[in-house]
Symmetry: C2
Subunit: 328 residues, 2 copies
């Protein structure tokens, strides 16, 4: 490590796994690891395990703890990012009003900032990934739901009480599918990885025949977006219908983002981007029909580049570039 370069720990706390890395202010990664969250053990055990893994990672990489400048953590929400308090998290049982920032600072003695995982992922892509050098970027992570993040003029846009960017809960079907947020027809009910799987499950339950049923050996609960994609690659008719619907709904959401934000880059993340051209070619065609030409002409619709590292990189980037917000 060169002198004068500060080291930051970036940690992405997920419901299943924790991703952790040590990165410097130039974005060079010195060490990384991931390990199971073991969320069932409860918040304090998860936090202690994260700290112990951090200490171990530093030790194994021969980095002195005193050389670690800041820690950034991405977490599922809702959370109070200003204070670093997790208010609740669907996939982390018992995480109600957990003072993650304070606890981490007590245990490590290192200044810590916490932000929501979708914000961290898009910020990572802005710093070192698909949104590098762009000023106005909107990010979408297609997973269980759809996580959203908004970068305006190079900075994370947080909104009045730091809850902006819930693009997955933009309603695109007024009387549509009931969402657990309380609204109806939310974008994530139509264009997340879960939505792809659910659309296929429904059709098969209605008695439609499909290669998908064979792939999952008759166990409908095993249908995932990946299985639907496998069906698509094998010219399965039902898989094609589901995929086309997914593309249509995704294009509505992305078209809306273009008309409202006139962004330079829309970054799409999540396992489904592995579909590559099968996703991005039809998506761009459909978005072109929905967005204004003048807006479409300057918008790049790109796959995320950083994969599972994005959240940890972005968490580190946020405490580096926007430390003021977290009181660092």
């Amino acid at each position: 490590m060169k002198k004068n370069k500060k080291l930051i720990a970036g940690i992405d706390l997920g419901g299943t796994n924790v991703y952790m890395l040590i990165i410097d202010t130039d974005g060079k990664i010195y060490a990384e690891r991931h390990f199971p969250t073991e969320a069932e053990k409860g918040p304090e055990a998860v936090i202690l395990n994260m700290v112990s893994n951090l200490n171990d990672l530093l030790k194994k990489s021969k980095i002195l703890k005193k050389d670690l400048w800041r820690i950034g953590i991405g977490s599922p929400g809702p959370l109070d990012s200003k204070k670093g308090i997790i208010l609740g998290a669907v996939n982390l049982p018992g995480w109600k009003f957990i003072k993650l920032k304070q606890r981490f600072e007590e245990l490590t003695g290192i200044k810590t900032g916490v932000d929501n995982d979708a914000n961290c992922a898009i910020y990572g892509e802005k710093w070192l990934g698909a949104g590098k050098n762009a000023k106005n970027i909107v990010g979408l992570t297609l997973g269980t739901g759809i996580g959203g993040g908004i970068i305006i003029d190079g900075k994370l846009y947080r909104g009045t009480n730091y809850n902006a960017g819930e693009i997955g809960h933009m309603s695109i079907v007024p009387d549509g599918i009931q969402c657990n947020c309380g609204s109806k027809g939310c974008f994530e009910k139509y264009a997340s990885a879960t939505a792809i799987a659910n659309f296929a499950k429904e059709k098969i339950k209605q008695g439609r025949r499909s290669l998908i049923t064979e792939i999952v050996k008759g166990d409908i609960n095993k249908i995932t977006s990946k299985v639907v994609y496998e069906g698509l690659l094998n010219n399965d008719k039902l898989a094609k219908e589901v995929w086309d619907d997914f593309i249509k709904y995704l294009s509505v959401g992305v078209g809306n983002i273009l008309n409202v934000f006139n962004p330079e880059v829309v970054v799409i993340a999540g396992g489904v981007i592995n579909a590559g051209e099968k996703l991005f070619v039809p998506l761009k065609n459909e978005v072109k029909k929905r967005a204004f030409d003048i807006v479409y002409s300057v918008a790049k619709i790109l796959p995320a580049k950083l994969g599972e590292r994005a959240g940890a990189i972005g968490a580190a980037g946020l405490v580096l570039f926007e430390g003021d917000f977290y009181g660092l």
Copy 2:
């Protein structure tokens, strides 16, 4: 007029009327007038008429032309606000690639900035109206269509090539009504003043009986949102259905704005806000169901305060506070 106070002309160029005022940097209005655009005479005649009215307004108000610091103009778009060129405007025949900024500067000798009318209206409300002192504001003008404007961190958000804020063209019904923008199911097709009138016309054409038919003496083409509102006040069943649908769709759009922007204020403008509580009470009830509680709790949903002055005030405000953008 106190010394050291700069005077600005704010002009709102509409398809039917031009609204013009002289305002100082504290927002005090010294003179104002409005006059017919006479758009049918073509761009040059309209511009000459605007300049002649400006000169006359100055003269009648005993303001010396040399004391006029800048001119701000709000215009229908699409336009290139950076260069002050109108690229085309549906309600202004012949306005194709009209260098409005340049022509005004030639004719008056005063530095001029041009921006889109929806941006000017929301900026006016931010400076002196319903959004005063708020930092993050989204504005909607419900008229022929729905004009949108976004204020982030106290500044107009313009986007990559200055075309952000087309909230009226956020699709909320994927296979919905064909919009002249090329997309389907645009917000403005469901929640503009025109949409209210169209929904009523459709139902009446289908043979439904309504007080509305009597109000317009059988001439369905005379149905406007105001007529529907009159029906609503008189407990007409059809008018109530149309109004409820309008509220539902408006709440989808406003709910989306809340979840995406987490704004401090949403300002709603247009003649329809004269409905007062009949609009805002049910709207807030519906938005509450659609937006996250944490986001709804901080968002004020307010009627515009400046009426027909908003665009002219905002045009002046933009050249005052954001003059750099227009090269002033």
